[in-house]
């Protein structure tokens, strides 16, 4: 019964949150590639650690700033220590975007 009451809202919400995750990860990868000037053949996965890709602290902060501008969010400096991989960045972005839209 609940399913029939708001069918469009439920299905569309489910669809959006799935697609957004992959899209978010891809956007993060794009920003990381640009900041670190990675050669195209460099393998970049959600588990890729920024430090293993050669990012120093200034690179990480620049990446976070790029993400803030891209997604219209604000990342507390305290959280930046938790952004060590592409996946962690994408997860935090999702959380902040949802909070913003709530």
């Amino acid at each position: 019964m609940a399913r029939n009451r708001f069918p469009a809202l439920r299905t569309s919400r489910f669809r959006v949150s799935c697609a957004a995750k992959l899209e978010t990860v891809n956007k993060v990868c794009e920003i990381v590639r640009k900041q670190l000037a990675l050669p195209p053949e460099t393998d970049l996965t959600p588990e890729s650690k920024f430090s293993s890709l050669g990012a120093d602290s200034l690179d990480t902060v620049e990446i976070v700033m790029g993400l803030e501008e891209e997604f219209g969010i604000s990342v507390e400096e305290e959280s930046s220590q938790n952004i060590t991989t592409v996946q962690e960045a994408a997860d935090l972005i999702e959380k902040l975007v949802q909070k913003k839209e709530a």
Partner: protein
């Protein structure tokens, strides 16, 4: 020609290097500890370390944990930098031989809660711990290790020509203090502004590293770093004015409680002609009172076990003021 005969004709140091690396491990030139008012800075230029067999020998002095970390690093160049950074720390500390000859591979390290590496010392095995404090920084093209006695130290390096992807003033507005934004905005020439930004970044990084905290534990918007002779209201001034060569670099808290911060001494240098390097050291206040005495920095270039070079006045040039 018989290889033994040929090797007998090669100068002694090369023979040592080629034939028996174990013998060379005693070739780490021992050094006296820095005095309480001095900082030692050791650096390696990775591009000058080419020998595959030397790099192989370097790997042998690492701990299993360090070897595993390096195996996770992507790409040969980054792996080499990670290796050289750890070798630099181990061999540098071993040089100070405060408890007799120290095998660099026997040193143990741990990290504080914010991830700053520290020496872990077993008093039962080795007697009282050396009063050494150290900190390391590296870029793709330079690795440096700063050493002090009895004073926490933080260092940071950046390549002089490092480009910033974001707009500098926007970046400063987001992460720095209002005073620093004003200072940067007042610089008309983009190249001078970029260099000033890099210097400021290295100083701020060196400070949070000296505190053992890092960027996330101590946001850069909570403290200002400036030259003591620059006014708080920050009028535009000529940054190429070399009469500020003895201008002290100071840190103050944004909330105005600057009295706690007089114990931090900063040195800004140009290193190896290619990098800006910032060093931050806690001074115990007993040196020089409140008269500004620049801290002495002794920089030495090294390829551990192979050679050390000391070119005073050229490889490390102290930049006065900010």
């Amino acid at each position: 020609m018989n290889p033994l005969l040929r090797s007998a004709m090669i100068p002694m140091n090369t023979l040592c290097f080629q034939r028996n690396f174990a013998a060379c491990s005693r070739a780490l030139v021992p050094v006296q500890l820095p005095s309480r008012s001095e900082t030692h800075l050791w650096y390696v230029v990775p591009d000058e370390v080419k020998s595959a067999s030397l790099l192989g020998q370097y790997s042998k002095i690492l701990s299993p944990c360090e070897k595993e970390y390096i195996s996770c690093v992507r790409g040969e160049r980054l792996k080499k930098t990670a290796l050289l950074a750890r070798v630099l720390v181990r061999t540098t500390i071993a040089r100070y031989q405060t408890n007799g000859q120290v095998d660099p591979s026997s040193l143990k390290f741990r990290k504080n809660i914010h991830g700053k590496p520290e020496l872990e010392w077993d008093e039962n095995d080795h007697g009282s711990p050396p009063p050494i404090h150290f900190n390391i920084s590296h870029t793709a093209s330079l690795i440096a290790c700063g050493v002090t006695v009895n004073s926490p130290i933080g260092i940071d390096l950046e390549e002089k020509d490092r480009k910033i992807k974001n707009n500098i003033v926007s970046f400063a507005r987001r992460y720095f203090t209002a005073h620093e934004v004003e200072m940067l905005s007042s610089i008309p020439d983009p190249e001078t502004q970029r260099q000033h930004f890099i210097k400021l970044w290295t100083l701020k990084e060196a400070y949070v590293k000296a505190l053992g905290k890092g960027f996330s534990a101590l946001p850069f918007s909570t403290f200002t770093i400036r030259s003591r002779n620059s006014s708080r209201n920050c009028q535009s001034r000529d940054l190429s004015d070399s009469s500020s060569s003895d201008a002290e670099i100071v840190v103050e808290s944004v909330d105005g409680s600057s009295s706690l911060m007089n114990s931090w001494q900063f040195t800004l240098l140009e290193l190896a002609g290619t990098h800006f390097a910032a060093i931050c050291v806690e001074s115990d206040g007993s040196i020089g009172g409140r008269v500004f005495t620049p801290r002495k920095v002794t920089a030495r270039k090294t390829i551990p076990f192979v050679e050390d070079e000391f070119h005073p006045g050229t490889d490390a040039v102290v930049l006065g003021g900010l």
